[in-house]
Symmetry: C2
Subunit: 386 residues, 2 copies
């Protein structure tokens, strides 16, 4: 096994791209990542995507994107793990390069959720849940998260308003991210009066439905310095899974898959939560941000919200999260999100995050979640220039 | 990189399993493969599937199947490459074990195409083609293959009846396969009078819509002998891609992706077509069988059909194909097919194919195709007991 580095990263603006096809969206990210890496070819391309079949009537994205990107002939597949598809594709690329089966691998996450040919996007997203035992009972993805949020409030005695810091922090950071979908600040007062979506989840607890694509180029770390001016080493790459249906879990408020995934990544990297300088977590809903902080070891059970209330999740806090806006304000094009998270960590470790720069960021973690915690992929990245 | 072996293989009967859910179907194959391998756990599970979202309203099969199989917590994803999804999942498992990132990997291909909650299955299958430039023009998967068949007949001066040997051979071999969907013989006369589907493709040129699941367990080859009584070594594993839209190809009758894929696998294995004792090819339609024989080097362009007409594709022929019935008569549950092919090659190399046994089979090849040749995955397997 050899060390793997990210030698190029690129992203498209997240938004409602009604005039851009799925393949064009992917192409934008692939080209940006390849240009950044200075590579003209690759051994393989792995595409992270969840909904292209249901919403665009197009499966078979591996060959489609490879050909459209001028890479006809290379190995190419689509990897799917619901909203964790992006990081799942990165995990596959990591495995291929780490194991020596490929030298240069392109990973692209792409999703087009607006202006679709399929059914309601909320119905399509419910395919991340258990079709027979959750969705068939009328549960959507947001209602499942609403149950979790209500339970957390009940167990630990918090009001809904206590979750405001997540939205405030994410939107504050999105202001300076040119790729963010919602680059405007929101106040705690705005949060208090936001439109209800599924009680207790309101609009500002929720990430938006949107389109986007992000990509990275992987190479063996020992060649990375020659290839890139600012490579970033992947020091941890791990997956943990749990039941898809939330009602099958021992405790619905403990994300065991996320915990497994984080612990495996920490063990591989030889670090712990205290060593992580920033954490791009999966804030699809503010309850998921809370539970992720706990599952990844930044707080014990029931204490994740306190971190946010104490101001510790900001750029200058103990554990900065959603530093470029997160799923909440950068946007959550589901199968692309895991790659966006990693692109943003790379930006931070390269010292290119401008107004949002985490000072002296050296170790960054990205955690991408499929479903309500059923598939969790964690990557820990390290700056290579010191 | 280390050698990889298949230490267990299992399959469910192909058919219309209206009373069996998608997860139960997958479970049957996983359990059969694990029992055959004698393993109780695994490091990862990769699921090959194309249509579960569209036809069953269920994505996120990795975590779902892992949990249902008693493997909660392990790494698990779904891999998609249209009808090539099964072998794509195997390719991912191979990469993980060959590279040393996993020791025991379970690969399962599963598809449920009958009794679905989604739209017409033919429409869903068109997602393997180019949604914008083929399907949107009204082309279905069968009409695209019909155009290829008509072109082949025109270019090389064959009648439709010349394709009869593919169906006759496949059905003859299916008779003794207890897992086959259509285990009855058909005659060349039956072929001549079969119902037209999409001129010139008739019912006996076509593989059936069906449900099924097949699985294998992978392990490092140097541990395989201790773990399994009859392990089989993977000596070649390779992917080639081409344009998804057939009209974008240099020559629609040359499957360049299949050719690339086969050549890469031969090079890795250090063998050529003459060394292959049997070839489980992707006979979704008889024209695909013809073009595959040519692309994989068993005949030059325009000569693939002659192999069939000369009786060389039978068990005792120069290059036995579809030895257990193939896609045509065993059945083609699309995302599972690539794993069924490999399970059948394993059966042959273990000498367990009974009436269908290829004498002294030592090297077998399986080739799984996504779309009309856009993603092609080739595996070459070798008997380990000599």
């Amino acid at each position: 096994m050899r060390d793997v580095a990210i030698i190029g990263a690129g992203q498209t603006e997240v938004g409602e791209h009604w005039g851009v096809s799925l393949r064009h969206l992917a192409l934008g990210a692939v080209q940006a990542a390849m240009a950044d890496a200075g590579v003209m070819n690759a051994d393989a391309l792995y595409v992270g995507n969840m909904l292209s079949g249901e919403l665009e009537g197009q499966e078979h994205l591996g060959a489609l994107v490879a050909d459209f990107a001028g890479l006809r002939g290379i190995e190419a597949f689509k990897i799917e793990a619901a909203c964790g598809s992006g990081a799942a594709a990165l995990r596959m690329g990591y495995i291929a390069v780490a194991g020596g089966l490929a030298d240069i691998v392109i990973v692209v996450g792409v999703e087009k959720m607006t202006d679709t040919v399929g059914p309601d996007t909320t119905a399509a997203l419910a395919m991340a849940a258990d079709a027979d035992y959750e969705a068939a009972q009328g549960a959507s993805f947001v209602t499942i998260n609403a149950l979790l949020m209500r339970r957390y409030m009940h167990e630990y005695g918090y009001s809904h308003q206590a979750f405001a810091p997540f939205a405030v922090n994410a939107h504050r950071n999105a202001v300076h991210n040119p790729h963010a979908m919602l680059p405007f600040p929101v106040s705690a007062e705005k949060f208090a009066s936001a439109r209800m979506i599924s009680d207790p989840i309101n609009l500002l607890d929720s990430s938006p439905i949107c389109d986007g694509a992000a990509g990275v180029v992987l190479a063996p770390a020992d060649e990375a310095r020659d290839r890139s001016t600012a490579p970033v080493r992947i020091v941890g790459s791990a997956v943990g899974t749990d039941t898809v249906a939330v009602h099958d879990r021992r405790d619905p408020l403990i994300l065991e898959g996320a915990n497994l995934s984080a612990r495996r990544a920490y063990a591989q990297a030889g670090v712990g939560p205290k060593d992580i300088d920033l954490f791009e977590l999966h804030d699809a809903f503010s309850i998921m941000a809370t539970l992720s902080l706990e599952a990844a070891g930044f707080a014990s059970s029931g204490k994740g919200l306190a971190l946010a209330l104490d101001g510790e999740i900001g750029i200058d806090g103990k554990i900065p999260i959603t530093t470029m806006g997160g799923l909440k304000a950068r946007g959550h094009p589901v199968g692309a999100t895991g790659v966006y998270q990693v692109v943003e960590v790379v930006q931070q470790l390269r010292g290119l995050a401008a107004e949002n720069q985490v000072p002296n960021a050296r170790l960054g973690m990205a955690q991408n979640i499929g479903g309500s915690g059923a598939t969790v992929i964690t990557h820990i990245l390290e700056r290579m220039d010191d």
